[in-house]
Amino acid sequence: MESQERVYTPYRGPFDPCPPVPFKTYVVPPNQFISFQPPDLPQFSLPEALRLGTLWPALFSPYESKQGGR
């Protein structure tokens, strides 16, 4: 699956008070590339669909915490 994350470099000023962040990211979820879901798309198994929040692999968007997890 193609990455859903986009990266850009924010402006850096010569007199910025704080250490600059190297880059920023945002997510472009798969719903941006579909305007009407075609019939007969592949489906997740039902337990998997419940866990992921969608029946459709074509609509699945992973997201991981910037803080990680414990």
Binding site: F36, L52, G53, T54, Y63, R70
Partner: protein, 189 residues
């Protein structure tokens, strides 16, 4: 009419005693882009929209109420055993002063819910585009909430809710397509 099923749409597990997150979760409880705003927005807009898409609004509104219930469960689990000191440390002192451990429809900054968070323009496209934007804003809010906790179980529930917003946004986009194409042709690209 509604039938209530006495279970959550998705199991809510919270494994870390982190009262701070209860406060931030209120953004999705009584905030501008929260589940209450979403549910009420769609439930109201459906009375002035073409018949073909009323069902979408009803279905999604209903599901948003079940999300509201999940968020409430998360907040409840995080606050029910918290001491006054712990609530104060999490910024929930004012909430305790007003209502002990009770939940309330307010955002993460304690601003109470207001109907001005939602719109009803009576124009099908204007209303549906508002709904699409609302879903994307809720998705973003879930991302920031996921970023704020390292509790994998809480993250799990929030990831489920985030994915639902993505699906809902697409269903509203499809509703727009249905209204645009009155001949009922469905274009796929």
């Amino acid at each position: 009419m509604w039938i209530y099923e006495k279970k959550l749409q998705y199991p809510v597990r919270v494994s870390k005693c982190d009262v701070r997150m209860a406060r931030y979760l209120m953004e999705q409880y009584g905030g501008a882009d929260g589940e209450l705003a979403a549910a009420l927005r769609y439930m109201n807009q459906r009375y002035a929209i073409p018949d073909k898409v009323i069902g979408v609004l009803t279905d999604i509104s209903t599901e948003e109420f079940s999300h509201l219930e999940m968020i409430a469960t998360m907040i409840y689990k995080l606050t029910k055993d918290a001491s006054v000191q712990e609530l104060e440390a999490a910024g929930l002192g004012p909430n305790y002063a007003q209502r002990d451990h009770a939940l309330f429809y307010q955002n993460s900054a304690g601003v109470p819910f207001t109907a001005t968070y939602i719109q009803a323009k009576g124009d099908p496209l204007a209303d549906l585009y508002e709904d699409i934007a609302a879903e994307e804003k809720a998705r973003a809010t879930y991302q920031w909430l996921i970023d704020m906790t390292d509790d994998v179980d809480l993250q799990d529930g929030l990831k489920f809710l985030r994915e639902r917003e993505i699906v809902h946004a697409l269903r509203f986009k499809e509703s727009v397509q249905i209204l645009i194409d009155e001949r009922g042709k469905k274009k796929v690209f």
